[in-house]
Amino acid sequence: MTLDIDAILTNPDKNIIVCTGSGGVGKTTTAAALGLRAAELGRNVCVLTIDPARRLAQAMGLTELDNTPRAVVGISNESNSNGSLSAMMLDMKRTFDEVVESHSDPERAEKILSNPFYQALSSSFAGTQEYMAMEKLGQLRAQSQWDLIIVDTPPSRNALDFLDAPARLGSFLDGRLIRIITAPARGAGRGIGRIAALGFGIFTNVLSKLLGAQVLADVGNFVADIDTTFGGFRERADATYALLKDAGTEFIVVAAPERDALREAAYFVERLNQDSMPLGGLILNRVQEVPETGLTQDQILAAAQKLTAEGQGPLTAALLELHAQRMEIKERQKHLAMRFTAAHPNVAVQPIPALAQDVNDLAGLRQIGEALANQGITW
């Protein structure tokens, strides 16, 4: 089954596209290419990238990291369609700071922002990037300035992190443990049982030996300051999660034609299915294309060997070997793709050829965009 990406991009009811997959497979590239294509098809698009390659960021005009969408220049308006493209790069710390600032009076915000525990949380905790990507998505969506938002996802090895990390972090911050341990005196430990309470007593004790009393005090202050201003971290995470389940959202899973990446993609597809989330399809990025010549790999290799054995035409022998190698790579990739499809027959799969060059200008993105929309691709 092939993927009709233009039908998705031009569908006015679709207003969020999420590109996921494991690291390095081309999520950011795909997100940017989809954004450009949608804009050139007339949508008002914002692309939220997380970690673009330096030159790709430059090509989109993202020279400053200011955490706000900037108009991308160079969009073609051939079809007189009045589309537009904005792009931004996520700054997770800044996004977190803004959340804090918008939910508290300046004095309290200042207290939170200068809390060392908050500083660690907002810059180096596992899950913060995912949480803030979701948060930013929610903000962009609320601005209603764009009719299509395309979201790239953080470079985690586990694609499911994007879905799960925000809730995990949210539960941690809202959780019972953080309250008991940082403020046992508040009586938050009531109801956990005497033995457990004793255990926590020992642990709090050890914890302060390990971390120092100051650290625990910082956490305690953070919890107290946040408590009075926020509706709850978990609640916020759940609200954006709900947005992702909306019919206006479409997931695009990106994978390289390799075993590990496809395994990761399969987990993700199964999860979307389980949670009834809308899946557009699988982009199989950087596939080996080989022009059809009507010859088999064995025939090509035999010819190369004959030349080599006769000490003839080393250049031609090298070209034939190169061709045979590519046929082999393609076969292996197709085999992997077939196994994926056998297990997930309802998932549309769109192969994108590996370009010889990296994709780091609008022309390259346009080329990927065309490949994304090429329903007649023979691979």
Binding site: S22, G23, G24, A53, R54, P116, A120, S124, F125, A126, R157, F172, L177, I178, I181, A196, G199, F200, I202, F203, V206, L207, S208, K209, L210, L211, G212, V215, V219, R259, V290, P291, E292, T293, G294, L295, Q299, I300, A303, A304, K306, L307, Q312, G313, L315, T316, A317, A318, L319, L320, E321, L322, H323, Q325, R326, E328, A356, Q357, D358, N360
Partner: protein, 328 residues
């Protein structure tokens, strides 16, 4: 060893998916060559070693997993933060039983979430304990410790235990623990290697990572350029291929000689593939040059067409030996 004569702790980092685990394992085999005893450690709780060596998940226990040419032994240990913290609690506070009860309640997880630095100190601490451990004859229990470490983006923070201490207690055993860890890691007993592919993003990450490690006075070792493909064409041929100037008639004649028909499809395929290949190779050469400018040892390893299995690890280890790593 020629390059890092004093290094017993070899830390392997790199961008995600570039082959850290694979290279660390091959390095453990290469360093075990000729009767040495090495240990491969992983610290991210992913059971990458077990997957690679096709064994059941490793418990928190040192196990022999392979032998090396010339009678060496490769051992393995999978540590996670929880194990390391429980060890620590037992060692300094005699809290083994209470420790595991707390861990069941999620409290250990909690401690390492609240202070990510704590986990790092404990994991690097475990690696240093293994480095320093002596056997009954007071020789090193292991000649080399190879650490499959977190990716480049996190490596400086992971190793720079002193920096981590800002979030931890300034006194007591954890502090002296950290000091002794730092004494190993910031010395020439340690070499931090980076794995990369010849593509823009991983190379950039490698360059940035090295700068950051150097700024923090952490000892950078070599660069392992992984999954390279040998060029099929030489430089002159590549230039012609890109310019569309390959000698078509000659190629057509050769093809007829070889028993195939030089159909337009075949000619078109060969010429376009040649130019595509040439562009890729030239790009890879540019990236390799960026790395060469660092004047650090570079070890080039091929993409093994059939993927990585145990045999593949020995193959990569042999290439490392041939590049001057271990083996003495």
């Amino acid at each position: 060893m020629r390059n890092w004569p004093e290094a017993t702790l070899h830390v392997v980092t790199g961008k995600g998916g570039t082959g850290k685990t694979t290279i660390a394992a091959a390095l453990a085999i290469a360093l075990a060559k000729n009767g040495h005893r090495t240990i491969l450690m992983e610290v991210e709780g992913r059971q990458g070693i077990a997957q690679l060596f096709d064994t059941p998940p490793l418990p928190y226990e040192e196990r022999k997993i392979a032998v090396a040419p010339g009678g060496g032994e490769v051992w393995a240990l999978a540590v996670d933060t929880e194990d390391a913290l429980l060890d620590y609690l037992e060692m300094f506070y005699k809290l083994r039983r209470a420790g595991s009860a707390l861990s069941k309640m999620g409290a250990v997880d909690f401690a390492t979430t609240i202070a990510p630095g704590l986990g790092d100190v404990l994991l690097t601490g475990k690696a240093c304990e293994v480095v320093k451990r002596k056997d009954k004859k007071q020789d090193n229990a292991y000649d080399y410790v190879i650490l499959d470490a977190p990716p480049t983006g996190r490596i400086t923070r992971f190793l720079n235990v002193n920096g981590e201490m800002s979030g931890l207690a300034k006194v007591g055993p954890i502090k002296s623990h950290a000091d002794s860890v730092m004494a190993v890691i910031a010395s020439d007993q340690t070499a931090i290697h980076l794995v990369t592919l010849l593509e823009e993003m991983p190379v950039q990450e490698t360059l940035d990572g090295i700068t950051e490690l150097e700024e923090n006075n952490l000892p950078v070792g070599g660069i392992f350029v992984n999954m390279t493909r040998p060029p099929q064409l030489d430089a002159a041929q590549r230039a012609m291929a890109i310019a569309g100037e390959l000698p078509q008639q000659e190629i057509e004649l050769d093809i007829s000689q070889s028993g195939l028909a030089p159909t337009p499809q075949l000619m078109e395929a060969l010429l376009s593939e040649a130019s595509d290949h040439a562009e890729r190779v030239d790009l890879e050469i540019t990236e390799l040059e960026r790395l060469t400018q660092l004047s650090r040892p570079i070890i080039v390893l091929p993409l093994l067409p059939s993927g990585i299995d145990l045999g593949g690890l020995y193959e990569l280890a042999a290439i490392m030996t041939a590049s001057g790593i271990g083996g003495e």
